[in-house]
């Protein structure tokens, strides 16, 4: 299995001279098995270029695509209306997502293409869409992929995925805050709120479940949006630092961590510094730390013995 990064940016796409090397498009990763089966994780703006590649590969023939969504914030779904395979009649697209509020998934995803936002409503798109609700703790299988959803700490909920195929294992952990200072729920936070005893218990349970599910995973792609200084100012925004990701990966004995969901303000030069700094920090605790960039492809290693 290998994974390819089509969008590595958080929040919104960032064109310009400062993002030429790491890339400016938002969250989208493609996993491929050795036999060519494809699984897409998140539908940020990186999905447009992925879709164009998939259409070139298929020669324009209809296909079946599977898309796992971590959550439905704009930076994780905005590429969907620009995914060119969706405009090929006969194409089927299965979308898997956490139900984070009262609405049904088809209304939530359909809502992004409603008339005010996009010229073509979802029901008029030629591809046939199917929606599947995921639940942390309930594994499922998509072709050769075994998928384990993992609850994460993000405003209105988010879900990570452990993905096993070909005897190899990687995980997608975005978007998430760390599990000590703020517990994200279904309301707006203008700053960190004091934690109740129940909140601490819930955070510890989320942390423990994440570490348990990452155990033995070869490669973990993790939301490391913030530098430590930025996190200190915005602990309630729902994102982590590379230090927090390294701590989780070291605890779960993960071989390799990939920094991901870079803040829009982090230009290429700053990303170079972050990459170098955390490669060294990771080495000190036995975790190989890579920094994702648009166009990066990584072979996933075998699942480690428990």
């Amino acid at each position: 299995m290998q994974i390819s990064f089509w969008g590595v940016r958080g929040s919104y796409p960032v064109p310009g001279a400062a993002t030429v090397r790491y890339g400016g498009q938002t969250s989208c990763v493609e996993a491929r098995t050795a036999s060519g089966e494809c699984l897409i994780v998140d539908a940020g703006t990186g999905m447009r270029a992925l879709g164009n590649k998939l259409v070139r590969e298929s020669g324009g023939a209809p296909g079946q695509y599977h898309v796992l969504l971590s959550h439905v914030h704009w930076d994780h779904i905005q590429g969907l209306p620009f995914f060119s395979p969706a405009y090929i009649p006969g194409t089927r697209i299965s979308v898997y997502a956490l139900l984070t509020a009262a609405n049904e998934l088809d209304q939530v995803i359909g809502g992004i293409t409603r008339h005010e936002f996009f010229p073509m409503p979802l029901e008029a798109v030629p591809a046939q869409f199917q929606f599947h609700q995921v639940e942390p703790g309930v594994d499922f299988v998509i072709g050769a992929f075994h998928v384990t959803p993992i609850a994460l700490n993000h405003p209105f909920g988010s879900v990570g995925y452990r993905i096993d195929a070909d005897g190899q294992s990687w995980a997608y952990v975005a978007d998430t805050a760390p599990f000590d200072r703020v517990l994200h729920k279904q309301h707006f936070l203008s700053g960190p709120e004091p934690l109740s005893e129940d909140d601490r218990v819930a955070l510890a349970a989320m942390h423990d479940a994440l570490v348990a599910r990452l155990r033995g995973v070869d490669t973990v792609v993790y939301d490391t949006h913030f530098t430590p200084d930025e996190y200190a100012r915005f602990p309630h925004y729902g994102h982590s630092t590379p230090d927090q990701a390294i701590a989780i990966c070291a605890e779960a004995k993960v071989r390799r961590l990939v920094l991901y969901h870079h803040a829009p303000a982090h230009g290429d030069d700053q990303m170079d510094q972050i990459a170098k700094q955390y490669l060294e920090k990771g080495e000190a605790v036995g975790v190989e730390v890579l920094t994702s960039f648009e166009g990066m492809t990584l072979p996933v290693g075998p699942e480690a013995a428990a």
Binding site: S11, Q25, H115, F118, F188
Partner: protein, 279 residues
């Protein structure tokens, strides 16, 4: 009056080397009077760059005031809204004006949907710390904001409408016609010609190279030639090609500009992210 293009790209923000000279941000255009009053058109990703400049001055202190006109609410024209940092500073006064979408929702309800908790952790317009007022207008009238007088008109955009603007300040005129497709390229609507009458600068939708247009007729966007016809009929002095296709690299835009400029006596250039230009 000066104009600065913060985002010139249509549909989709494009990063990468092929888009550096014209810029990959989606639409956002600032107009500034000689006295320093500002008017912003659209809140595409380009607005996030303008936001950095505004925050370095009075908007960072909660003392800024900004009127914003929206052509319409397709995502490429509003996707910078949740990241436009002056909204997060108490004391700033920001007024968003636009037509109601034809779906029946009001402009305010539409922007509220953009910040719906599913889609944005901001969880609603009420959580923006700045004073934000959203007012709908019916195109066809005139709006006065400090330093500017704006005439509005409804123009066709595929199966819907967008709002075009004629902006007068300091005795100069900018006509802004983005996201528009006329039933016939050679016969632009009289409203469009009226709006651009004797304009010092016409900013016009040029999403498609002329050679690509036939395949994309009906999608709601113009070929470069449409702006030329409007400029010639209206007697506009300069034409800025705008709302470049996400597939158009810098070299492709250069070619469109060269071909378009050779076809008319109107002075033609392609809108690019960058410096303030004198109107």
């Amino acid at each position: 009056m000066k104009i600065r293009f913060w985002g010139v790209r249509g549909s989709f923000a494009m990063s990468g080397r092929e888009f550096l000279r014209y810029g990959g941000n989606t639409t956002s255009v600032e107009l500034k009077t000689d006295a320093g009053q500002r008017l912003l058109i659209d809140l595409g990703t380009g607005a996030t760059e303008l936001a950095k400049h505004l925050m370095a001055a009075e908007f960072g202190k909660g003392q800024g005031s900004l009127p914003i006109l929206l052509t319409h609410t397709h995502l490429d024209h509003i996707q910078g809204l949740p990241f436009f940092t002056p909204f997060f500073i108490k004391g700033n006064e920001i007024r968003i004006m636009g037509a109601d979408p034809i779906s029946g929702l009001s402009l305010e309800a539409t922007l509220q949907n953009q910040l719906d908790p599913h889609y944005s952790p901001l969880n609603g317009l009420e959580n923006l710390a700045a004073g934000v007022t959203i007012s709908s207008f019916v195109p066809g009238g005139t709006i006065a904001v400090p330093g500017f007088v704006v005439t509005t008109a409804r123009v066709p955009h595929g199966s819907m409408w967008t709002t075009a603007f004629r902006i007068v300040a300091d005795g100069k005129v900018v006509a802004f016609l983005s996201d528009v497709e006329y039933p016939s390229i050679d016969e632009p609507l009289p409203e469009a010609i009226e709006l651009a009458k004797d304009a010092d600068l016409l900013v016009h939708d040029a999403m498609h190279a002329d050679k690509d247009y036939e395949l994309r007729r009906g999608w709601g966007h113009s070929p470069a030639r449409a702006g030329v016809v409007v400029a010639e009929r209206a007697g506009a002095k300069r034409l800025a090609l705008f709302h470049h296709s996400p597939d158009a690299t810098d070299e492709m835009i250069d070619e469109v500009v060269g071909r378009t400029a050779a076809s008319t006596k109107v002075s033609v250039f392609a809108a690019a992210e960058g410096a303030y230009l004198d109107v």
